[in-house]
Structure formats: structure tokens, C-alpha cells
């Protein structure tokens, strides 16, 4: 039972998908499917609420086949909540967007729910098989969603592109996972990490190739340069609520997993020493993502493409945060995730979903073109949407007092604190980049308020659901921007659990007692205890055998 409670946020998302599927079927072919969006949103928010309720302390997982495969702690809860919010917002945006776009099929909603479910599974998984399962559930649903406007060649193109490149990325991920398995004989992060950090495998070629492969695969999901090419095309071509989903949910999930995997598996003290270290690669990607994202953003004329390049540059800032590992609590052992990263993701997701959401509400009567010209004069046609778009975009640009400013402030501060002597260069680069980015963000505001449309203006959809979703985002951006305390606290707590503890010192007490008087032959292979994750004693032999495969010479020799 406790397993079901611990797993309930993720389960709720899946159940939501099933319920929506059934409702879609039962409601008949010719009904308006908008209510399914509300059901999806409520279900996903229930899932987010469950995650918040589970916030206090990690939950124990006792089912044998789940041990070491999932970890539900503050880190998971933080991202599950964030994903749930973004997923719910996207499904509300679909409610009136789809009929206007000529999509009357209710299949969109269960797909959104399943994609969200996949993202959640992706985030809480600590085992590469389960991780891959989550990744694919999320991705497959999204391939279909990207192509869900069947009458539009752009949507089809987006779907196919995303699918082809996504399959490539998944392939790389599998390669990486396989190499890691080859190097360590295990699939769960903790064992893999321990093996790699303990033994000669640390410097082995397999581990390094695996590192690059996994960075490439996850870099695809988070749209980091040079794995980003799909982003503008797919964001532009997909139905806009789906773009919102991709920019919000997929990126948050991708980063959550990237940070946890990187730091758990390769997270030694030398994580970010030198260019060839794991952190060094992230740093390279961070800098080129920022620069490429912002420079390309400048020359775009389509708002969705601008936001796509903006999301690439944001990936750069966040990667910088992952590169600069946190200082951890005073006296704590090991490294921790830079606590600015979860907070920054929060700020980014809310603002970007808000911005895409407003664009989604401008897709009336099948209108697809989101060029700057077509949103011109929005300030006069719909002051409220214009205001929300402005708030979102300015938050992305990092203008105080909006949330985006706090996000950048906290992140850059933490990056600087992690290593003041060297990191100031990167902070300066990032700040300069945000200045460049201001150009295209303000360009959107300029068109919204000070230009008249020359061609056809994008028709505005009257949508209570969508307006509710985007205004919630905007209010959160404003409110949390002024009172960020609680959100920063939550991010700090989340970041403390990002790195799964792999140290031997925290062995389970029962095992320790045995070892104290007379060391038994098998004793060196003590099991570490993961935060909030207890190992069922009856399964120790199984896990131990798995570890033995690669660990024969790592601990003290048995007598």
C-alpha cells in the first residue's frame, strides 16, 4: 500500500489518461471534446497535489522489483508538480484551440495525459530501463501530438521530424545505457555511479563514450546545441498548445534527469574540473547553446521560432547551473545540485507555457502563422492577452520584479559562488547573453503594443479554459517574482536530493552491526542506503550478486 501512495502522483497521471480515453469513447463521435481537457487538467493537478503532499520526506519503496528503480523524494516531487502544472495548462489550452484548428478528435487529451505520465516516470526513475520507458512513453505520445493537426502539412512535418530525430536520440540513449551496463554491469544509477567512481572504470573509454551518448540524448530533449535543430521547426509546426507542452514539460523533465544522472553517476569532486570532465562538456554545450540560441533568436520573424530559440538559450543558462555543482550544506558529504537549477526551471516553465499559451489562444479559425506581424496590435485587440504575453516574455528576459529575474539572479549567484575565481567568466557571458536576448523579447512587446498588423491579424480565440491557464501562469510569475521565498526553499530542498547518495559510509544500520565484531567474507559489499529508499533485506543477496559482477576487487579482500 505504501508503494501505491509513494507512487500515487505518477499513477494518478496514468489513471487520468485511461479515464480520459474511456470518456472520449463513451461520449460519442460527434460531441465537443472540450470537457476532456478539464478532466485531464483536474487529473494532472490531482497528481501534482499528491506530489506536494508527499513532499515531506522520501517515501519508502518496498516492492522488490521496484527497489532501486524509482526514487520519490523532494526532487521528484518538485519536478512532478512542475510537470503536472505545465501539463494541465497545456490540456486546458487545447480545449478551445483544437476545434478552432479543425481538430475534433478527442484522442489529443489522453495523449497529453500519457505524455505527462511518461515525463513523470522519466523524472522519478533511477534505473535506466524504467527511465527509457518513461522517455519513450513521453516521446511517442508527443510524436503523435506534434502531428495532431492532420490537415496541416506543417504539423505533419513537425511530427515526422520530431519522430526521426527523437528516434535517433533514443538510440543514442540506449547506446549510452548499454555502454554503462558494459562498464559496470548494472542499470541503476546508484550502482553504476558507485562502480564508476570507485574503480578503474572511472577513466575507462566505455564510461566516457556513454557519458557523451547520454548527454547527446538528453541534450536533444532539452534542446541544447548542437542537438537542437529540430526545436524551431517542431515548435513552429506543432499545434501551439503542444509546443507549450514540449517547451515546458519536456525541458523540465529532461533537465531533471540530466542533472540527476550526471551528478549521481559522474559526480565526483572532479566533476567540473577541466574541459574534458563531465562538467566541462556541459559547460561547452551551455556556452554554445546560449550564444547560438540568442543570436539565432535575433533574426527570427516568427514568434514561435523566437520562443524556440529562447528555449535553446535558456537551456544554456540551466546547463551552466548543472555544470557549477552546488556547495552543498556545510558539513555535508559529497556534491549537490546547484539549487538555482530547479528554481530556474520553475521560472522558465511558467513563463514559457504562459507565452506559448497566449500564442495558442491566437490560433483562431485555423490560423497557423505566428509571425511577428500577425501578432501586431494585440495590445488593442485583447489587452489581457497582450498583458499576459508581455509578463511572460519579460519574465523570460529576466526583468524584475518578475519571476524570471529571480530565477536568473539565484542561478547566476549560485554559479558564481560555486567557484568565484573561474566561474565569473561564465556568469559574465550568461549576463551578456541575457542582454542580447532582450532584443528579441522586447521586439515581441514592441509588435504587441506599437505596431499595426500589415497582413492578416491572428484571430483571437475566446476561451475560458485557455484564459484561465495563461492568466494563472502570469499571476504565478508575478506573485512568485515578488515573494519568491517559498519557491526558493522548495528548490533548495529539491536540489539536496538530486544526487543519489552513493557513499558506502551510510550503510544500513543492520548490516553495520553485523560487520562490527567479526567481518564476514561477503561484508565488503555493504549496501549504501539511498535517501528515503530502503532496501528490503530479503533482496540484498540479489543486489549483491549484481554488484559482485564488477566489484570483486573494489573493496577490501575477503579473508
Amino acid at each position: 500500500m505504501s508503494d501505491i501512495i509513494a507512487f500515487s502522483p505518477v499513477l494518478l497521471a496514468a489513471i487520468t489518461g485511461l479515464i480520459v480515453m474511456v470518456l472520449d469513447l463513451l461520449s460519442g463521435k460527434n460531441t465537443h471534446k472540450g470537457f476532456l481537457g478539464w478532466v485531464t487538467a483536474v487529473g494532472l493537478l490531482a497528481s501534482g497535489t499528491a506530489a506536494c503532499l508527499l513532499w515531506v520526506g522520501g517515501r519508502e519503496i518496498s516492492l522488490p522489483f521496484m527497489v532501486g528503480m524509482v526514487q520519490f523524494d523532494t526532487y521528484g516531487a518538485f519536478f512532478v508538480t512542475l510537470i503536472a502544472i505545465a501539463g494541465a495548462a497545456s490540456s486546458l489550452l487545447i480545449v478551445d484551440h483544437n476545434p478552432e484548428q479543425g481538430i475534433h478528435d478527442g484522442a489529443t487529451y489522453p495523449l497529453v495525459a500519457f505524455a505527462t505520465f511518461g515525463a513523470m516516470l522519466f523524472v522519478v526513475a533511477t534505473d535506466m530501463i524504467l527511465l527509457f520507458l518513461g522517455l519513450e512513453i513521453m516521446s511517442l505520445a508527443l510524436y503523435v501530438l506534434a502531428a495532431s493537426k492532420q490537415t496541416s502539412p506543417f504539423s505533419m512535418e513537425a511530427g515526422v521530424k520530431y519522430f526521426l530525430l527523437g528516434a535517433l536520440a533514443s538510440g543514442f540513449f540506449l547506446f549510452g545505457a548499454a555502454f554503462l551496463y558494459g562498464a559496470t554491469g548494472s542499470l541503476d544509477f546508484v550502482t553504476v555511479g558507485r562502480t564508476i567512481q570507485d574503480a578503474a572504470a572511472h577513466g575507462s573509454g566505455l564510461s566516457k563514450v556513454a557519458l557523451v551518448m547520454i548527454i547527446a540524448a538528453l541534450g536533444f530533449k532539452i534542446a541544447a546545441v548542437p542537438f537542437h535543430f529540430w526545436t524551431p521547426d517542431v515548435y513552429e509546426g506543432s499545434p501551439t498548445p503542444i509546443s507549450a507542452f514540449m517547451a515546458g514539460v519536456v525541458k523540465a523533465a529532461g533537465f531533471a534527469v540530466l542533472a540527476r544522472m550526471m551528478l549521481t553517476i559522474w559526480g565526483t569532486a572532479e566533476f567540473s574540473s577541466g574541459w574534458q570532465s563531465p562538467g566541462g562538456i556541459l559547460l561547452i554545450l551551455a556556452v554554445i547553446s546560449m550564444v547560438v540560441g540568442n543570436i539565432m533568436g535575433i533574426v527570427q520573424d516568427n514568434v514561435k521560432r523566437i520562443l524556440a530559440y529562447s528555449s535553446i538559450s535558456h537551456a544554456g543558462y540551466i546547463l551552466l547551473g548543472v555544470y557549477a555543482i552546488g556547495l552543498g550544506e556545510p558539513g555535508a558529504v559529497g556534491i549537490s545540485l546547484n539549487s538555482g537549477v530547479p528554481f530556474y526551471l520553475l521560472t522558465y516553465v511558467l513563463a514559457t507555457v504562459g507565452a506559448f499559451g497566449v500564442l495558442a489562444l491566437m490560433g483562431g479559425q485555423g490560423h497557423e502563422d505566428m509571425s511577428l506581424d500577425s501578432i501586431a496590435g494585440l495590445g488593442k485587440r485583447s489587452p489581457i492577452l497582450a498583458l499576459i504575453l508581455t509578463i511572460s516574455v519579460l519574465s523570460l528576459a529576466g526583468i524584475p520584479p518578475l519571476l524570471g529575474f529571480m530565477g536568473k539572479f539565484v542561478l547566476f549567484k549560485q554559479v558564481l559562488l560555486a567557484d568565484p575565481d573561474r566561474n565569473w567568466v561564465w556568469v559574465v557571458v550568461a549576463v551578456l547573453n541575457s542582454l542580447v536576448a532582450l532584443y528579441y523579447y522586447l521586439r515581441i512587446v514592441l509588435y504587441v503594443y506599437f505596431r499595426e498588423p500589415e497582413g492578416e491579424a491572428a484571430p483571437i480565440i475566446k476561451s475560458n479554459a485557455g484564459l484561465f491557464a495563461v492568466s494563472t501562469m502570469a499571476v504565478l510569475v508575478l506573485l512568485l517574482g515578488v515573494f519568491p521565498g517559498k519557491a526558493i526553499d522548495a528548490s533548495n530542498q529539491a536540489s539536496h536530493h538530486a544526487v543519489l547518495s552513493i557513499t558506502e559510509a551510510q550503510a544500513a544500520p543492520a548490516v553495520q552491526q553485523e560487520s562490527a565484531p567479526t567481518p564476514e567474507p561477503k561484508q565488503p559489499l555493504r549496501l549504501r542506503q539511498v535517501d528515503g529508499l530502503k532496501v528490503d533485506p530479503s533482496h540484498i543477496p540479489i543486489i549483491r550478486r549484481a554488484m559482485e559482477l564488477k566489484l570483486r576487487d573494489s573493496g577490501p579482500k575477503p579473508k
Binding site: 480515453m21 474511456v22 469513447l25 463521435k29 522488490p64 479543425g102 478528435d105 490537415t151 530479503s538
Partner: protein, 142 residues
């Protein structure tokens, strides 16, 4: 030859036997079978489509849909077989107990809902009424 290779001996034997049987069938067929060749018979076997045709021709999308559904339920069967084999053990209290039954039912249940959905959406109808009618409806709206 070390003892660690012993398990592979069985595999090698299996391979040899399998290949041998296949070869034997082909050879026996060639030797014993009557031969009355026709154009259709001489062509390679492919389900439903002409062998020599323009490569630009579109293949009916129904093939893919059916293939995908097939894969899903094929994999269901694939999962059920090992569970069935180990089911008696799994039911023991020291393993999963009754939970094994629930897990199994859950798995089948989810797929059943999927089947129901696919069916209800008309995806199993060879004529694809659902798809054509929804396309017709969106045409009517434009």
C-alpha cells in the same frame, strides 16, 4: 576447453538442429515436389501488393495501423508467457503474493482498455469509417 563453455554447447546444438531442419525441408521440397511454375508462383512472396510496381506508389496506411496494433498485442502475449510460467512461484507469500494477480490483471486491464479504445475509434474496421468520416467532417467545417 573450459567448463564455462558448457552451457553454450546446448545452444550450438539447437542452432545446428534448426538450420538442419530448415535445410532439410528445402532440399526435400526441391527433390520431391512437383513443379508447375506460373508467373505468380515464381514471384517472391509479399502480402497483397504487386511485386513489380512503381516504387513511388503509396502503400495503404491500413497495413501500418494493423501492424502497430499487432505489435502491441503481440508484446502483451510475449509478457504474459513468462508470467504464466513463473506464476505459481510468484503467488508464494515470500515473493509477491496476491499482488502478482493484481499486477497481472492490471496489465491485461490496461491493454483491454486500449483494445476497447482502438475498437471504439473504428481503427480495426478495415474500411476505416471512423477516419474517413472524421476527415469528411473536418472538410465540412472548412
Amino acid at each position: 576447453m573450459g567448463s564455462e563453455f558448457l552451457p553454450y554447447v546446448a545452444i550450438i546444438i539447437t542452432i545446428v538442429v534448426a538450420v538442419g531442419i530448415a535445410l532439410a525441408i528445402l532440399v526435400l521440397n526441391a527433390v520431391l515436389g512437383p513443379k508447375r511454375p506460373s508467373e505468380a508462383k515464381m514471384g517472391p512472396f509479399e502480402c497483397g501488393s504487386d511485386v513489380v510496381d512503381t516504387p513511388r506508389k503509396r502503400i495503404n496506411v491500413r497495413f501500418y495501423a494493423v501492424a502497430i496494433f499487432f505489435v502491441v498485442f503481440d508484446i502483451e502475449a510475449l509478457f504474459l508467457i513468462p508470467i504464466a510460467v513463473a506464476y505459481r512461484d510468484l503467488l508464494q507469500p515470500q515473493h509477491l503474493g496476491v499482488f502478482a494477480l493484481f499486477a497481472l490483471l492490471l496489465f491485461i486491464g490496461v491493454l483491454a482498455i486500449g483494445l476497447w479504445y482502438v475498437w471504439g475509434k473504428g481503427a480495426l474496421d478495415w474500411a476505416f469509417d471512423a477516419l474517413t468520416s472524421s476527415a469528411a467532417r473536418s472538410d465540412a467545417n472548412e
